[in-house]
C-alpha cells in the first residue's frame, strides 16, 4: 500500500461543498478512476482519507491537501491528470506525491482577504485598517464550543500583512497561524467590522494561497 498526498484547488462553484460532502465526493472520484483505496479494518470498513486543514464553506483555495492510502503501491505522479477527468466543477488536482512532512508540521497559511465595497473603497480605509490589524492586540468575539461568546486576541496569530487597493476592493494579503491554535482568515474582516464599523465591507472573499511550514517556507 502507498501513502499519498494530493494537492488540489477548490474554487468557484465548489466552494459551497462542505467538508463532509467533499470527503464523499473524493471517495467517489477515486472510484470513478478505478483507484482502490485502503480501507480501515473495523466492523464498518471505510476508505482512509483525510484533509489536512478543513476549508470553511464559501472560501476558495489553491492549496488543499488530501492524504490517502491506496491498496497498491504507486508513486501517484500521473494521478492529477487521471482524477481531473472525474471532478465536479471547481476542483482540480495540481500534484500528487508521497508525503515527506506530517500534517502537524503545517504551521501557517498565506491568504488573501478581499474586502469589497460596492460604493468604492472609503478614503483612508487602507491606512486605518492596517493600523488596526497591526496594533498591539486585536480582540474579536468568537463563539466558543459551549456556544457562549468569548473575547479572543487574534493578533499573535497574524504574522504578516500587506494591503493593496483596486477599484471597489481592499485586498489584505496575510500570513496567519494554521493550527494549534490557528485562525480563520475571515476573522480579519470580522475585526474590521467590530472595531471600525463604518468601514464594514459589503462582502468578503477569502482565498488560501499557500501553506507554510514553521520556518515560513512552503509546506507540501
Amino acid at each position: 500500500m502507498g501513502k499519498l498526498r494530493l494537492l488540489f484547488v477548490k474554487e468557484g462553484r465548489a466552494v459551497y461543498i462542505s467538508h463532509l460532502d467533499l470527503l464523499r465526493t473524493f471517495q467517489r472520484v477515486f472510484l470513478r478512476q478505478g483507484l482502490v483505496l485502503r480501507h480501515s479494518q473495523g466492523f464498518h470498513p471505510h476508505p482512509i482519507l483525510s484533509f489536512a486543514l478543513p476549508l470553511p464553506v464559501g472560501q476558495a483555495s489553491d492549496c488543499e491537501l488530501l492524504d490517502f492510502e491506496t491498496a497498491a503501491d504507486m508513486d501517484g505522479g500521473d494521478l492529477p491528470e487521471r482524477l481531473n477527468r472525474f471532478m465536479p466543477a471547481g476542483i482540480r488536482a495540481r500534484s500528487c506525491y508521497v508525503p515527506v512532512w506530517p500534517v502537524r508540521e503545517l504551521a501557517g497559511l498565506e491568504c488573501r482577504v478581499d474586502l469589497l465595497y460596492d460604493g468604492g473603497v472609503p478614503a483612508g480605509a487602507a491606512e486605518r485598517i492596517e493600523a488596526l490589524l497591526t496594533g498591539e492586540s486585536l480582540v474579536i468575539q468568537k463563539r466558543t464550543k459551549r456556544k457562549a461568546m468569548a473575547d479572543i486576541d487574534i493578533r499573535p496569530m497574524l504574522h504578516s500583512l500587506s494591503l493593496s487597493e483596486e477599484p471597489g476592493v481592499l485586498r489584505l494579503h496575510a500570513a496567519v497561524s494554521a493550527q494549534n491554535p490557528g485562525m480563520n482568515p475571515a476573522l480579519l474582516a470580522a475585526a474590521v467590522e467590530r472595531h471600525l464599523p463604518e468601514l464594514r465591507p459589503d462582502f468578503v472573499q477569502v482565498r488560501r494561497l499557500e501553506l507554510l511550514d514553521g520556518a515560513g517556507g512552503v509546506f507540501r
Partner: protein, 611 residues
C-alpha cells in the same frame, strides 16, 4: 457566478444545492442550441435529484443535438426570501441564466402538494401565473408526472400537460416546438398542433361547464383537440433510455445511490393505488440489461450503494438471477445492494438476508389494513401468516427494528379493522419475544398510519374521504388499543391529507383557490412544517367553494369526473367493477395469474406483456 447569488449563498442553509457544477451536469454552448429547456422540479434539490424520472428526461433531452436541458429546483424559504430581496430571479443550475429567458419550462409533478411550489417558481421567474397572460410562444410552460393525470387544478397555469411516460413524448413536443419557433408560429397555432400528438393535453382547448350542484356538466374539446387524451407508454424497456451516466450531487440528497428500475407497472392491483393503475401494463427490463446498467452506473458515478426499484420489486420474475448476476461485482467493489418495497413473504426475506451485510437497517412492511377482510377489500394480497413468517425470519436473523405501515379510513373500514392494526402489532411483539436472536438489544416496532386519500384512476375514485372528526376518532381508538411499550405509534397529520384529497380530485375551479393560497404564502406545502391549512381554507372561502365537496363527497357512476378527458387505458367500467368487489370484500387475482381485462392490454393491441 452572478454577484448577487454569490452574496446570498454565503448566508443561506446548504448553499451547495444552489451552486450546480456537479459531476455529469450537462454543459452546452447556449449559442449553439435552438431549444433551451428549464426542467423544473417543484420541490427542493434533495428531493428532485432523488427522482429517477427527472434524471431520465434530463438525459433524454440533452441527448438531442441542439437542445440544452437545465435543472431548476424550488428554493427553500430562506433562499426565496434572499432572492426576492436581492431581485434575483429564479435561475437554472447549469448556466445560472434566468428561467424566464428559456424557450420551454417543464415541471415534473409527482404529487398534488407541489402545486403551490409550481406557482411560486413561475412567480420567482417573473412570469405571469396564468397561461392566458403569457400570450407569446416563449416561454411555453408544460407539466408532466403522475399528478398530471388530473391536471385540472393547474389547468389555468400550464400551457399543456404531458400524460404518461415522457421518454418519447417529450422529444416529440420539443421537436414540434423547434419547428414552431423556426417558422414563427404563434402560441395558439402551436397548441392546436401539439394537441394532435398522442398524450398531449391542452387545457385551454377544452370547455368545461358545470351543473348547479357543482359537478361537471360537460367537457367539450375545441379546434380538433381529441375527446380522450390517451397516455403514452414506453413499449420496450430494454430499448428505453436509462441514465447510466447521470449527475452525482456534491451534497447529500435523499436517495443518494444508483437506482436500477427493474420494471414499470405492477401486477398487484391494490385498489387504492394510483400508480398501480396508471403505469399499466407491466413491462420488465431484462436481467442482462439491468446487470450491465448496474455495473456501468456504479463505475461512472463512484456510488457504493445500489437499489432495485419498481412498484413491487419482489414481483420481478428473475430477481434472484439478477441479484446473482450483480453479487460478485458488488462484492468486489464494496457496493451495497438493497431491495426496497419488498412484499412480506418468505422468498423476499430469504433474499434480503442474503444481501444484507454488516449493519441490519430497519425493515418496513406495508400490510395497509388491520384485518384480512379489509385487506381483501383493498386487494392487498398479504396474509397475516405471511407477515408473521417474515417477521419470524427477520427477528431470528438479527433484525430488531421494524416499521409497519397502515391506512386509516379505507372504504368499508370498521372499528374492528382499526383494532386489527393493534392486534397485528401485539402479535409482532409476541413473535419477537419467541424468535429474537438477541433480546438484549430490545425491539423497536413502529406502527404508522396515514389517512387514506382517494385518487383519480383508482377503484376508489368515487369514494368519499372520511371526515376529519371520524379520522381523528379512529386514530384515538387505535392509540388507546396499542398498549405494548415496545410499539411506537405515529399517525399522519390530518391537514395535509385532507388538502391532498381535495386537490387530487379537484376540478378547474380550484385554480383560483390555488392562486389565493399562494398569495397567502403557501409554498412548500409538501413540507408539514411549511404547510398551513388556514391559508387554503381562507382561499376556498374567498372563491365560494367548499373543500368538502371535493374531499368528502361520494360520486355516482354517472357523474362526469373532472379528469374524464384523460385515459390511462384502464377503463372506468373495470374500475367500477373493482369498486363493487371491494364492497363485497372480494379480492382479485394478480395480472400474471389471471387477466382481469382492465383495458391496459389495448396498449399493444389486446395482449398484455408478460414477464
Amino acid at each position: 457566478m452572478d454577484q448577487r447569488l454569490e452574496r446570498i449563498l454565503s448566508r443561506v442553509q446548504k448553499p451547495a444545492r444552489y451552486a450546480g457544477g456537479e459531476y455529469n451536469a450537462v454543459m452546452k454552448n447556449k449559442h449553439e442550441v435552438d431549444l433551451r429547456f428549464a426542467f423544473c422540479f417543484p420541490d427542493t434539490y434533495e428531493i428532485g435529484m432523488s427522482n429517477l424520472g427527472f434524471r431520465i428526461l434530463y438525459g433524454v433531452l440533452n441527448n438531442m443535438p441542439g437542445v440544452w436541458c437545465e435543472r431548476v429546483f424550488a428554493p427553500w424559504a430562506d433562499m426565496e426570501e434572499e432572492m426576492r430581496a436581492a431581485g434575483l430571479p429564479l435561475f437554472a443550475l447549469e448556466s445560472g441564466d434566468p428561467v424566464g429567458a428559456f424557450d420551454m419550462i417543464g415541471f415534473s409533478v409527482g404529487y398534488e402538494m407541489a402545486y403551490t411550489a409550481m406557482l411560486n417558481m413561475l412567480d420567482l421567474a417573473g412570469l405571469p401565473l396564468r397561461s392566458q397572460d403569457r400570450p407569446d410562444l416563449r416561454p411555453l410552460v408544460v407539466a408532466g408526472g403522475t399528478a398530471m393525470y388530473n391536471a385540472e387544478p393547474v389547468a389555468d397555469f400550464i400551457d399543456l400537460a404531458l400524460i404518461g411516460e415522457g421518454e418519447e413524448l417529450l422529444p416529440e413536443v420539443a421537436a414540434l416546438f423547434r419547428r414552431a419557433k423556426g417558422e414563427g408560429w404563434d402560441k395558439p397555432r402551436f397548441l392546436r398542433e401539439a394537441a394532435r400528438i398522442q398524450g398531449v393535453y391542452v387545457p385551454s382547448l377544452y370547455d368545461i361547464t358545470y351543473n348547479p350542484d357543482g359537478t361537471v356538466r360537460a367537457i367539450t374539446p375545441r379546434e380538433g383537440a381529441p375527446e380522450k387524451v390517451v397516455k403514452r407508454v414506453v413499449h420496450h424497456m430494454d430499448s428505453a433510455y436509462y441514465p447510466a451516466k447521470t449527475i452525482v450531487p456534491s451534497t447529500e440528497i435523499v436517495h443518494d445511490r444508483v437506482t436500477l428500475e427493474v420494471f414499470r407497472g405492477c401486477i398487484r392491483g391494490c385498489r387504492f393505488c394510483q400508480a398501480g393503475y396508471v403505469y399499466r401494463p407491466v413491462r420488465c427490463r431484462s436481467r442482462e440489461v439491468l446487470a450491465r446498467y448496474g455495473r456501468e452506473a456504479v463505475c461512472d458515478s463512484g456510488y457504493q450503494e445500489m437499489t432495485l426499484s419498481s412498484l413491487s420489486t419482489s414481483d420481478y420474475p428473475e430477481l434472484v438471477g439478477l441479484c446473482d448476476d450483480l453479487a460478485p461485482f458488488c462484492e468486489e467493489n464494496h457496493v451495497n445492494l438493497s431491495l426496497p418495497s419488498l412484499r412480506a413473504d418468505n422468498f423476499s426475506m430469504e433474499l434480503m438476508q442474503r444481501l444484507q451485510k454488516g449493519r441490519k437497517a430497519g425493515l418496513t412492511f406495508a400490510p395497509e389494513a388491520g384485518t384480512q377482510r379489509l385487506r381483501d377489500a383493498i386487494n392487498k394480497n398479504v396474509t397475516e401468516e405471511a407477515l408473521t413468517e417474515s417477521l419470524r425470519t427477520a427477528f431470528a436473523g438479527g433484525w430488531n427494528s421494524v416499521k409497519l405501515y397502515f391506512m386509516l379510513g379505507l372504504p368499508t373500514e370498521t372499528d374492528e379493522d382499526v383494532l386489527g392494526i393493534a392486534e397485528i402489532a401485539s402479535h409482532a411483539v409476541h413473535t419477537w419475544r419467541e424468535h429474537a436472536a438477541n433480546k438484549n438489544r430490545g425491539l423497536r416496532l413502529t406502527v404508522s398510519t396515514s389517512w387514506f386519500v382517494p385518487k383519480p384512476f383508482t377503484a376508489f375514485q368515487w369514494e368519499p374521504q372520511i371526515s376529519r372528526e371520524e379520522y381523528e376518532r379512529r386514530v384515538r381508538l387505535l392509540r388507546e388499543a396499542i398498549t405494548a411499550k415496545a410499539v411506537t405509534y405515529n399517525w399522519h397529520d390530518g391537514d395535509t391529507s385532507f388538502l391532498e384529497a381535495v386537490l387530487a380530485r379537484g376540478d378547474r375551479r380550484l385554480g383560483r383557490v390555488l392562486e389565493g393560497a399562494f398569495r397567502r404564502g403557501a409554498r412548500l406545502d409538501a413540507w408539514s412544517d411549511r404547510f398551513d391549512l388556514n391559508r387554503w381554507l381562507e382561499a376556498f372561502d374567498e372563491c365560494g367553494l367548499d373543500p368538502a365537496f371535493y374531499a368528502n363527497r361520494e360520486r355516482g357512476r354517472e357523474e362526469i369526473l373532472p379528469w374524464s378527458m384523460i385515459s390511462c387505458y384502464v377503463t372506468d367500467d373495470y374500475l367500477w367493477r373493482q369498486r363493487e368487489l371491494a364492497h363485497q370484500s372480494a379480492a382479485t387475482p394478480d395480472c400474471r395469474t389471471h387477466c382481469g381485462g382492465c383495458g391496459a392490454g389495448a396498449v399493444e393491441g389486446g395482449e398484455c406483456y408478460h414477464g
